[in-house]
Symmetry: C2
Subunit: 458 residues, 2 copies
């Protein structure tokens, strides 16, 4: 082990430089103007995999944002591990509150600031660098390795289901390991045992055929903003409970054991709120914050717009108003059925004086779980306990990685989440950053994980 | 009379050309980037008044968008008439649904299309051209005339109250006549007997200090869009009745005579809805459409925004959400008290897990009425009946002209509304236009009105 660890230390500056280069590619999968950048990030990633010594490095078409594949299959009799991460990022612009250009990384206090630094470009590079170090100077890998890196995670992987199904033979593995995820804190590890599912939709309300004068027509024809506000307000009670008929179908109640497990996770309310700058806790009665984040389904408006948004006053009764919604799902909730339940609710709450459309935005994924005692998790747990000097917490993600359900369905493989982001790093918000200490520790952890996975039954 | 009428006919092309030039100045009072254009429109207007033969033409400072004054006071013993109009316009851009550049007028089918053509630049030029024709070739005016043209009507005249108060002596008159207003149809005249008042406010809701991941934090902290939607939805019942405590203070109930008067006004529901492209009528139960438009107060959301508005999905729980509201007021409703009533309602309906601010947007004006039998209205009624061959309907405006209340308060003068826009001309919306036939008829009407007003007691 000594050789590759020395190498990892010696190459530290190079790794930092390549993270900077990678973050500089504004690979925003949700924005039409950035599709070439997503492709540039795919090509960059393919080249990086080849440089690391991996074979068959290739950009693969998916019908939308491409994926990248590479492998190194020279450990006969050993298990095959599919390493997953994504090279696309959330949108970001100075006007969202960034202190600097989100795509021109800034290094300060052992952190790198930039969109995608934490989610997921830093995490993606870690196993590439680990494998590279192990292969250096005629070295070998203790397991067979396949990389599958995608470019549409941040938009819910709309075309990856067909892709995984088509390429099932090439992707076949004994275990997947996701380099998208997080640890608990700088000093305490965590092991994700579940992720919530996802569905997405947009509501478009149309009133008059064009914007009209709100003095002349206000009060006499319906205003699509008011109609939209009524629909949206009807979806949740004041305490945040979702009121849509059928929404909770398939969402399991928490058992006493579930609640006991959650109670073991430390939670400092003041620190939680301060980190977010939020005024107070909020959410479904009868559940604590961790249950609300990890184990209960949600319905959140991600965006709303209509009418005049400039300075001052424009006395307009607008023609149209819009809202975007995503839901997080748990247990056996089905994304399509939840979206249909919401569409039905919208139709029942739409005033006949306006017209209302509901459409899917494509992002969808089933909830995902992996047992704590899965052999892959046992290996990950041992590595983390050793590295941090303490047992990992059994944690979960409120977020979604839709492809994990596809690995289960088409490859019959569970996925261990093994990644080194931390919750306070501002993923999806302004001033996202990644800790360089996590970047270093992650490389060592991945080398040890691959070693331990070699002992797992192939 | 024959001389100036011949002149008005001969100069028709010049009048069309100058309306085009005037509309080309994008004098949008609400937008910071267009303040120079508002000043350019003021200068253009001052020069036009001087060119018409008026004296003391001057741009006057108001502390915000300027006003323009001119006079011709050579009819001793005759009444003094203050002619009012505005040279500022609503915002407009191609993306709002205009078929052409809103500030590059298009002429088609006896119409001129462009922002401000109907509201109020065409109407503003009419009395200037009428006065010019009367003064041509050593002619004279039957009354003393003062012009006061303002540049902030579209934003509710926030600094005009102080201006009118300060300049009360210079503006002193026996009657004001507003060249901002409308007729009933191309063949039927109308006489406005009231305008609604106005107040305006913005609601800003803040949740977390920055945008956060809606998967990670959704369901566990409050989403400012949901909090805003709750506040807004609480303000009106599903049928559009305003539910804010104290909102209706000072709003008179309609008398049987009021209702009978409204019932005399023709109303074709199908035509009304088709013209707007609206799905159906809507509004406070117990009132017809004309009552809802003219005689009842309203609360309308003019704009709403927060979170992600782009294509596709961004799984964000935003930091902030905003809405703009204007109310139309009637009777003795007080703009400041209505705004305070709404602010109190917002505070009572704000969830403690978010912070909420309510602020005035400046636009405010009291409701305005003028008796049907006022001597000014009797003169206007006679001119209109003569020109159209039918008696004008007693109509009203759902909109507001805040300065009319100031003329009443500081100059002790009522205002006759004498203008030639029509309701279908798209004021405040895309593809605003003005009928050239109205432009011509207006000039003749103004010459006759000034003549008739000479007979009014000074």
């Amino acid at each position: 082990m000594a050789d590759h660890l020395t190498l990892l230390t010696d190459r530290r500056d190079r790794y930092v430089a390549e993270l900077r280069d990678f973050v500089r590619i504004p690979s925003v999968s949700s924005l039409p103007d950035h599709q070439d950048d997503v492709r540039a990030a795919a090509a960059w990633t393919r080249d990086r995999l080849a440089q690391a010594g991996l074979e068959h490095a290739e950009v693969l078409e998916t019908g939308a944002q491409p994926a990248v594949y590479a492998d190194y299959l020279h450990a006969p009799g050993a298990p095959t591990v599919l390493i997953y991460a994504h090279f696309d990022v959330q949108p970001a612009s100075r006007s969202d509150g960034w202190d600097a250009d989100p795509f021109d990384p800034v290094f300060a206090e052992d952190r790198v600031y930039g969109r995608g630094s934490s989610d997921d470009k830093g995490n993606l590079l870690i196993p590439v660098q680990a494998v590279e170090a192990l292969l250096a100077d005629g070295g070998s890998l203790p397991v067979n390795v396949k990389f599958l890196l995608e470019g549409q995670e941040e938009i819910g992987s709309p075309t990856m289901e067909g892709f995984v199904c088509r390429h099932a033979e090439r992707l076949r593995c004994d275990l997947a390991v996701s380099a998208d995820g997080s640890q608990w804190s700088e000093t305490e590890p965590g092991l994700w045992l579940s992720l919530r599912g996802l569905c997405s939709l947009q509501i478009d309300v149309t009133g008059p055929a064009r914007d009209v004068h709100s003095g002349t027509y206000g009060g006499a024809i319906h205003n699509p903003i008011h109609a939209l506000v009524r629909i949206l307000d009807s979806m949740r009670s004041p305490d945040g409970t979702v009121l849509v008929d059928g929404f909770f179908d398939g969402a399991p109640e928490l058992s006493a054991a579930d609640r006991a497990e959650l109670a073991r996770i430390p939670f400092d309310e003041r620190r939680f709120l301060d980190a977010l700058g939020a005024q107070g806790l909020f959410g479904e009665p009868g559940y604590g914050t961790r249950a609300r984040q990890w184990r209960r389904p949600t319905l959140e408006i991600n965006g709303i717009w209509g009418g005049f948004q400039g300075e001052g006053v424009k006395t307009v009764l607008p023609s149209r108003a819009h809202a975007k919604i995503t839901c997080r799902l748990v247990g056996d909730q089905d994304p399509d059925r939840v979206r249909e339940a919401i569409a039905g609710h919208v139709r029942r709450h739409a005033d006949p004086a306006v017209s209302v459309e509901v459409r899917s935005l494509g992002s969808a994924g089933r909830p995902y779980t992996i047992p704590a005692g899965h052999p892959g998790n046992r290996a990950a747990r041992a590595v983390l306990a050793e590295l941090y000097g303490t047992e990992p917490y059994a944690i979960a993600s409120g977020g979604s990685i839709p492809i994990l359900g596809m690995f289960e369905r088409y490859l019959n493989a569970k996925t261990v989440i093994f990644a080194f982001a931390l919750e306070d790093e501002g993923a999806h918000g302004p001033n996202e950053f990644f800790r360089l200490a996590s970047y270093e520790r992650g490389r060592v952890a991945w080398c040890r994980l691959l070693d331990r996975l070699a002992g797992m039954a192939a």
